[in-house]
């Protein structure tokens, strides 16, 4: 890019979420020499993510919590510590977004700088030292007065209303309780009949973080690398274990599991936050059009 005006901060949604900057699709964890030992590999350097949408920022803060629990994931955490994030409030509405229902149409935490297009200008706020350092490079920029801040508030209010391409009737806070009663609900079988087990919904999801760990050796058959790659609970071999056993071998069991992860299991690990941010990427990505969380939770809320 040669000119700032070429920067399309008005994009509606990206095909893949920004998670690959923190959890690459293929990430070397260690290199080894058979019989001699191994060395951890942590490859990261400072970087700036520019133009993250609020719902994706919410997802990143959820992943921050997940990956730092217990012993913490040094690979994720070191990447995250190296990141400076500039969030931009949504300007154009993507085809399937429902962030307006999920409380993720705006975001107050996690970012270093927030950009909001107000009238024809961007209102810039920094929240961290890194953000302040970035802002200090802006010369001759006037401070925003109360009027501008009020106009930004209006942008948020407007986004709350328009980022609703699907009408969610089941308040997100009710999802864990709905799922409590839904394990045998017929919807899982009905939807999963058309499931290709292609994992598209997992791969494009900003809060899907599961991975598989594999080893590969070089031609000397002695040295090699251990790496992790993105995995997905909708893939048939995801829950396959030794002995050729698979504890979620049916499409319906896998399909159900994904919604339980979003609405119940992951929330129970991160203080009740629903692990769906309403970006709508799964809705768009699903070839069979069965992956709409709004449809699923509305149905659960409506009984059988």
């Amino acid at each position: 890019m040669t000119k700032a005006t070429n920067l399309r901060l008005d994009y509606d949604v990206t095909i893949l979420p920004p998670k690959s900057f923190f959890q690459p699709q293929n990430e070397t964890l260690l290199s080894f020499q058979r019989g001699k030992g191994y060395r951890s590999v942590i490859e990261t350097e400072p970087f700036l993510l520019l133009g993250v949408h609020p719902y994706d920022m919410v997802a990143i803060t959820q992943m921050d919590e997940i990956f730092s629990q217990g012993n913490g994931d040094v690979h994720y955490v070191s990447r995250r510590q190296n990141a400076t994030i500039v969030v931009v409030d949504v300007e154009n509405v993507s085809p399937d977004v429902f962030a307006g229902h999920m409380g993720t149409y705006k975001v107050e935490e996690g970012w270093d700088v927030l950009l909001t297009k107000v009238a024809d200008q961007y209102l810039v706020e920094s929240k961290t030292e890194r953000g302040a350092a970035l802002m200090s490079s802006l010369a001759d920029v006037p401070d925003a007065d109360q009027g501008w801040l009020e106009m930004r508030q209006l942008v948020w209010e407007r986004n709350k209303g328009r980022l609703r391409r699907h009408e969610l009737e089941a308040e997100p806070s009710t999802w864990p309780d709905l799922l409590e009663e839904a394990y045998d609900h017929p919807i899982w079988e009905e939807k999963a009949k058309l499931c290709f087990s292609c994992g598209s919904c997992n791969l494009v999801c900003p809060t899907c973080y599961c991975f598989d760990v594999r080893d590969e050796v070089h031609w000397d058959l002695v040295s090699g690398e251990r790496f992790r790659v993105w995995d997905g609970c909708m893939l048939v071999n995801f829950a396959k274990v030794s002995g050729n056993l698979n504890f979620r071998k049916d499409e319906a069991a896998r399909y159900r599991h994904r919604y339980y992860r979003k609405g119940k299991y992951v929330p129970s690990k991160i203080g009740g936050q629903i692990a769906c941010v309403g970006c709508g990427r799964c809705i768009t990505a699903c070839v069979a059009k069965i992956a709409n969380p709004v449809e699923v939770f509305n149905r659960l809320a409506g009984g059988r």
Partner: protein, 248 residues
Amino acid sequence: MSKPKVAIFDFACCEGCQLQIVNMEEDLLELISVVDPVEWREAMSDHRDGYDIAIVEGSITRHEDEERLQEIRSHAGMLIALGSCATTGGVNKLKNKFDLNDVKRCVYCDSAHLPHLNTALTKALDEVVKVDYKVHGCPINNKEFAYILRCILMGKKPFIPNYPVCVECKMKGNPCRYEYGEICLGPIIRAGCDAKCPSGGFWCYGCRGYVDNPNVNAAKEIMAQYHKTIDNLRGRMFLFGSKQEQTL
């Protein structure tokens, strides 16, 4: 460790998968540092008897071929099927959709009656003999071939995807071919190709064959959503998906 002896054989095919091995270029030196090729018509002029691993390309289309393959199998401790023709029957299975006499006449015209042109229904290798490993694709991905071979030499089970091409296509960040109004076989076809065709702007032709349990029924059901017919889908599956299990 003594290097295992490897022989590469071909049956009905274009030999393009062997060519992909030749195309490993500098890595060929690495390859022969771990195996000892004793027979490889496409790349070697000399040949020695006896081998531990047979790598077999092509599909079985004549009765004589069945016997030859059985002979190869009887000498080999391990047999690897190389490429679509060998792993699924590949494009050669198109023949099985037609009357064999018509096929012969179509290809050989006036010579069709000659005895050496006798033909039988196309078979993948595993319809004739036990196959230990399959390297899928038309052509194969030579990096995957090298990886599988290294795993075998390590006594380790190689990871061969049993998920659809969509996985790799999504990871590439491609917009879905269905959004362009095309029928793509990606949702039912085995990945491992790195979604080369969809990334290059084409639908998936299905060269790696179906995943173990493809949802062919869903593929049919969604045609209406995309204003297509089941015949459109059938046409798309014709090239690589003819006369395989689970096909239309």
